[in-house]
Chain length 482, copies 2
């Protein structure tokens, strides 16, 4: 029998902390004097009591290390339990949301997906908007820590190539994981403050700046308006683009940067690959807008930069409905959402390094074709890639595509049309936010789809955020054998 107490202890503790943070939106509501603060008080009491009770009940079983099974269960358990507690303010609050909508929204928040089932955000109580942003902000930093501390050890999806990264800050003695996590959180906070100040300096109100700073750094994409970034055209789009890009690079590089070393950041193959890919895509859309559609240079550049950055990083803000730019951008935006940012950032989706490993595999394959008797190993960042990593990446990509297909089919089964099913599956598994088509496209939202589809998407967001395998292994009887 596996001892589940260490898992319950951490989850309980995190839930209690989440409950305590509900004081922030409560304070926001009190400050705005909108009479909505009780929803957070109620939610906080329930969350803290249950969380603390769970932690206390499990405290006796806590040891110095987690087993493998406990680690997997913990990662999944956190992203199952916290959305349930995080949903309470939506249930009790002004939205009076049904459970399916409340859980969808909280899961969309904590997985940094940013798909929303709520309409009329502009008239929401400020605390509730703030809570949505906070959920994304927590989810963003949470995933960096999981990606750096857990996934490499768990050998999931090829992340083991970063195993030494988290603990290798420029040749120095190995700091402890907790120290790294603390440094990352400090950087995350600092960048969020910088982003908020920048937003405020280009015309956002303090409240808008604070919310969007949190959801930008989390590459989350929740906004304070139904119009998303449509309200903030112009300079805020540039500011946002810069910080979305910053949020998409490996955070461990910023630790090294703070320590005075720019080289690891500039030489990181993920950073370079991401930069070139982004530049190429912006150039393509920009040229298309200017030469084919006849739009103005700056206007076309700004909208290309902002919307491409938003989708490739999986943030999911929309400043315009790019579906109106013609058929070509629609298909392109569908596929660039499947690229994603760098591992070790707040980004989701397939991620740059997996495409780079794919290219390395193709290169090795071509060399092999050319010289059938030679032995060629794919290389990444100058290092040979082991068979284990390759087969992990292959397993991830295969699962990603197959899951995408199964979810799309399941959504179709609930009655959604083709473009909504396929783009809905993609946007949920890659944690992007908006889908395509009239219903869930950048100008729409997820309010109108049926409840079964909402539950399917909720589970898919969880699967995507935890790189699929972390959740799926839990359903294998073999996994639970000692």
């Amino acid at each position: 029998m596996h001892d589940l107490r260490p898992v319950g202890y951490v989850i309980g503790l995190l839930a209690a902390v989440l409950g305590a943070t509900m004081a922030v939106p409560m304070a926001v509501d009190l400050a705005y004097d909108n009479g909505h603060w009780q929803a957070f008080l109620q939610s906080a009491i329930i969350t803290i009591i249950i969380g603390a009770a769970l932690a206390i009940a499990c405290a006796s079983g806590v040891g110095p290390r987690l087993t493998l099974q406990q680690s997997f269960l913990l990662a999944t358990g956190v992203w199952v339990a916290l959305p349930l507690f995080g949903a309470l303010p939506f249930l009790f609050g002004a939205t009076g949301a049904r459970p399916v909508d409340a859980v969808f929204e909280a899961m969309s928040g904590l997985t940094t997906t940013g798909a929303t089932v709520f309409v009329g955000l502009d008239d929401f109580p400020e605390g509730l908007l703030f809570w949505r942003s906070m959920l994304q902000w927590f989810g963003g930093v949470g995933i960096i820590v999981v990606a750096m501390v857990f996934l490499p050890e768990l050998k999931v999806g090829g992340m083991q190539i970063f195993r030494s990264e988290g603990f290798d800050t420029g040749g120095k003695v190995l700091p402890r994981a907790a120290q790294i996590a603390a440094q990352i959180m400090a950087i995350y906070v600092a960048l969020t403050l910088a982003c908020g100040l920048a937003y405020a300096s280009v015309g956002m109100t303090g409240f808008e700046a604070a919310n969007h700073a949190m959801t930008t750094l989390a590459t989350g994409g929740f906004s304070t308006s139904d119009a998303s970034f449509g309200l903030f055209q112009g300079a805020p789009e540039y500011v946002s683009s810069v910080f979305m890009i910053i949020a998409s690079l490996p955070f461990v590089r910023y630790i090294q940067l703070v320590a005075g070393s720019t080289r690891p950041l500039l030489r990181d193959p993920q950073v370079r690959g991401f930069g070139w890919t982004l530049a190429a895509l912006v150039a393509v859309i920009w040229s298309y807008r200017v030469f084919v559609r006849g739009d103005g240079l700056e206007h076309a550049f700004r909208e290309a930069l902002f919307n491409v950055t938003s989708i490739i990083t999986g943030t999911g803000y929309a400043s315009v409905d790019y579906q109106l730019w013609g058929h070509f951008p629609i298909a392109l935006f569908f596929f660039i959402g499947l690229i994603g940012g760098c591992a070790g950032s707040t980004c989701c989706s397939v991620k740059i390094f997996r495409y780079q490993l794919l290219i390395a595999a193709v290169e090795a394959q071509i060399r092999r074709i050319h010289s059938p008797n030679g032995v060629f190993t794919p290389h990444y960042n100058g290092q040979p890639v082991t068979e284990e990593v390759l087969s992990s990446v292959m397993a991830f990509l295969g699962l990603f595509v197959v899951t995408l297909g199964l979810v799309a089919v399941a959504l179709g089964m609930t009655g959604l049309d083709f473009i909504t099913s396929v783009s809905g599956a993609a946007t949920a598994i890659a944690n992007i936010g908006p889908g395509l088509g009239e219903i869930i496209g950048p100008a729409g939202n997820f309010a109108a789809i049926n409840d079964v589809a909402k539950w399917i998407l909720t589970v898919t967001m969880l699967l995507g955020r935890l790189e699929l395998l972390v959740v799926l292994v839990l359903f294998l009887p073999r996994f639970w054998r000692i």
Copy 2:
């Protein structure tokens, strides 16, 4: 400098043979006395003269073996040159087709895709319909030979796991490749005859039976009517399903079967995987039709069996517009087209064995997660899978998905809508035939799309049929270095 003469010699020879076979549709037109036979005479003269001239000019350079570069160039060259010659009857004949349409149709034939740009097939001269069917029939047997003799040696897309297969007929002494090829052709002819007789026995005219027998064994999907299999509902759907399945299994197993050994066929993991997948999908669609849509048991079973078999094998016949069955089957049919049949058959697409290798990789990954210090190698058919095969399969899958995405985006750029772009890219790269949506769906065809899109699709069919890498390596300077 590479000696291109051996390549030119074989292409010239094959072109001359193709020209000679134009006597068959000419004879058909003469027999039906429709006054259309001159188109084939003209085409045959041009094709034979150019082909023979090329062969004679290159004959001096022919040696006993092809180099690697020559092998790749030959495979691609055959599927580029023969469609150009095969297009002549469409140019000169009753269709008076423009070059883009003639080449599209011939490429769709020889790659066994089965997408058509022609409308009014029911009123076509019989010889022209027969020529379309013959192109597919040649393309089908051509690809089996390429897949068995060339691809394993060229180490393309993981096909090297079948390297010994073509030459291993049940433990006996190794026969020569030419002997195997001859046996396969004999089996292909025999199965085509059997299929034609079966079709005739369930109500098709002799002409219809002959045409559909050829396009069934090739899993090609060209029909003699705009309504495709809509004219042949009932018993012909069962006959067709049986022969489409036969055409999707590895043909080398039939050689062993003829030699009296049933075991290799029944124990082949590809055959078993394909059988179970097909059965499961038919059961799903059947249940959906019966329980959700309230259709009759036999009617629902027959249409589910026929249409699922048609799409999973990549044949592409349609007996009904399954887009009218609701949203769920549409999304499902999109994804089952990406499964494909067995390697070593006339099928295209990703193919069963690559999914099986993917599953093996996921299994090894899960074992590795469970026991981080163990060493786990994926297995296929009881044998460990080498890193080389895994990385080849990964390269194939990656290229497949990325090419699909790029082609879809390019099609979108020409002005096609999302569902037409994405399903058009998929149906071309997987050589299925029909796409989805109103324009190119099972009830539509490719006549109405723009010329640029037709050229893009023509190239994509070629890429897909030759497993992508066979064509793509030719564009790498490195490949041409000795």
